[in-house]
């Protein structure tokens, strides 16, 4: 019974399905937070969670069971049977850039709070009147 379940979960299609559905669920949790929460720090946290979901989807789709990391070592002396290095490189730079841009957005929010004293999205209504 348990061996059967493990065998079923180890198939390549099932792993890809878990990756797609799981990262989609994480993305929608972040989207739910973005739409339902009003405090601005919660909004930034939700955007960060959506970013992480996209990273997981990108890395997980390039993953194949049985292949190793794209790196030479003691056991691997040639570049065969390895995962795709391109998504790793793109996500590696995207994480650093994402955090810097998040810091920029938070600095904008801090200055806005110093000027107007508002830190909730439903209070930010200067454009309405």
């Amino acid at each position: 019974m348990i061996e059967g379940i493990l065998e079923y979960l180890n198939q390549t299609e099932v792993i890809k399905t878990i990756v797609i559905l799981g990262s989609m669920g994480l993305f929608f949790v972040g989207l739910f937070g973005l739409l339902s929460q009003r405090h601005i720090i919660k909004v930034f946290i939700s955007i960060g969670i959506m970013e992480i979901a996209v990273f997981i989807l990108f890395i997980g789709l390039s993953f194949q069971k049985g292949l190793t990391a794209p790196m030479l070592g003691d056991a691997h002396t040639s570049f065969v049977q390895m995962n795709d290095p391109i998504p790793h490189a793109m996500i590696l730079t995207a994480i650093v850039i994402g955090m810097a841009v998040l810091a920029l957005g938070i600095s904008f929010a801090i200055e806005y709070y110093k000027l107007t004293g508002k830190n909730r999205l439903d209070q930010m209504n200067e454009m309405k009147h």
């Binding site: 040639s78 570049f79 390895m82 290095p85 391109i86 810091a103 801090i110």
Partner: protein, 236 residues
């Protein structure tokens, strides 16, 4: 809460229909997942053997996609510039700050050189093992953050950061231009690189040099972001 009264039947039925539609499309899509979604990586892995670099991700970041990395560093610079523009303070409020704990001061002073050494190691061995300039630069920035937390008088000299950042940016572009002249492609690998030298610190031609330059640039910019965000908190 009465669902029938609060939500109209049209909304409920359209929600059910769209959920059914999405699930159908997903089940069709998930049944036909190809075994291998990306195929560009195999040819890059074949090309990788010529570079004398053990870590294939490093080769992709620095050599095959080096021009994109230059653009990403420019984005990082613009973000740091914007944070400095928004959060720069005129006065340094060092007077009324609480003196931190003795154990924190001692521990930070002990750990600071070790973390810096680890960051430099991650930066320098980026072409041989896990790591590289981005990670090493951020590790160095976290060491600077530790010193900022523990000591009241620690201050990053703008002069030093300016010189480091300018040196890193200019030398990145200059190495690219030298490659354009010598090997006929921007960021071409003009230094000797051979697979037989694999494992040496200076194997791989320009790849480790450019990753160290990226590390200097990322480290100085992240340290400036840390300093700006912490200094803003001092004077109010």
């Amino acid at each position: 809460m009465n669902i029938k009264r609060d939500i109209s039947t049209t909304t409920l039925s359209s929600f059910t229909l769209s959920a059914f539609f999405v699930l159908t499309v997903l089940s069709i899509l998930l049944q036909n997942i190809p075994q291998k979604l990306f195929s560009a990586g195999d040819s890059l892995l074949k090309l990788n053997s010529d570079q004398g670099v053990a870590n294939a991700v490093t080769t992709v970041v620095v050599y095959f996609r080096g021009f994109d990395t230059l653009g990403e560093i420019a984005v990082l610079f613009i973000a740091s510039f914007g944070i400095g523009l928004m959060l720069t303070s005129q006065t340094h409020g060092d007077k009324n700050k609480v003196k931190s704990n003795f154990m924190l001061q001692l521990g930070a002073r002990l750990l600071f050189p070790i973390i810096i050494l680890f960051g430099v190691y991650v930066m320098t061995f980026g072409h041989l093992s896990v790591g590289g300039g981005f990670q090493g630069g951020v590790i160095i920035a976290s060491a600077v953050l530790l010193m900022f937390v523990s000591s009241n008088h620690f201050h990053l000299s703008h002069r030093v950061v300016e010189v480091l950042e300018t040196f890193a940016g200019i030398s990145y572009v200059m190495i690219g231009l030298i490659g354009l002249i010598v090997v006929d492609s921007f960021l071409g690998n003009f230094l000797p690189h051979n697979i037989s030298q694999l494992g040496l610190l200076l194997s791989g031609g320009i790849v480790p040099i450019i990753y160290i330059i990226i590390g200097i640039k990322v480290g100085s910019e992240m340290s400036l972001i840390v300093q700006n965000m912490l200094q803003r908190s001092d004077n109010d």
